[in-house]
Symmetry: C2
Subunit: 156 residues, 2 copies
């Protein structure tokens, strides 16, 4: 999907070309919650069945989901996240956190995630090296490949 001719080599664009189409990340949401059957997906996401079938094919061929047989006769399948799929979950958590705060004012949330530590999950993106929360002003972009130009703050 995203930018077939993005003039920049970019992992964000590449990732979005796999999961940036309408419904794809909602499929991941459902599958990570364990709702991996076709009819569950249709009901819980509200997507047209044909589009959903297309997305599922694509996510499987991208290695983000796998199709698992859960009944031989009649043949019935279920979709589950692969390791790569599970590692995309942080994207969902940060999206959820943003939406909870900016779209719902942080109150009356429709769903809470509880961390094993016992409190509600509020995801914070930190720097692996120093462990500190990352903020916009603390970053500098370093283009390594041609195609990149950076102007303003966070320019290198």
């Amino acid at each position: 999907m995203a930018a077939t001719k993005d003039p920049r080599p970019c992992s964000i664009a590449d990732a979005l070309s796999l999961v940036g189409e309408k419904y794809s990340l909602l499929v991941l949401r459902e599958v990570c919650l364990g709702n991996g059957r076709f009819d569950q997906l249709v009901r819980n996401i509200g997507a047209p069945r044909d589009i959903l079938a297309t997305r599922l094919r694509r996510l499987v061929e991208a290695g983000i989901l796998t199709k698992r047989l859960y009944s031989e006769r009649p043949q019935r399948f279920e979709y589950r996240p692969t390791q790569a799929g599970l590692e995309l979950e942080p994207v969902l958590w940060t999206l959820k956190e943003w939406g909870d705060r900016h779209l719902r004012g942080g109150i009356d949330l429709p769903m809470a995630l509880e961390h094993e530590c016992g409190s509600e999950l509020v995801p914070v993106v930190t720097c692996r090296a120093c462990g500190d929360p990352v903020r916009h002003g603390e970053l500098t972009a370093h283009p390594q490949a041609p195609g990149w130009t950076v102007s303003g703050p966070s320019a290198a």
Copy 2:
């Protein structure tokens, strides 16, 4: 965009309905890098000009970007992230990290982000309460609103 009739009240779906359309997150990428002028966006993203104009209108009305006059005569505008826009950046970082690792094998990356601590940014999503990195198995979903059903692991 995403799921006009998502039967679940969900902040992820709501967030995606604002920034889930094709090119929207790439616009945010550019704007956060300081490349906020229309022609820069066209060139750096590779999107059709009319679509870009539509996205920009939408992102401004959603409060994610602002349009700033940077020249009176002739009138020239530039787009910049609002506070809400900046707070969406973590989504871009986690997407980049996933793409770097899963789509490029972690090597030969086209762009690096340097954290103020001096090392390259590798974003890690942590739990604000306990500070630990969050992993899939450590979460439990707690639906608070009707419309939610959770089956498998991470069910409540």
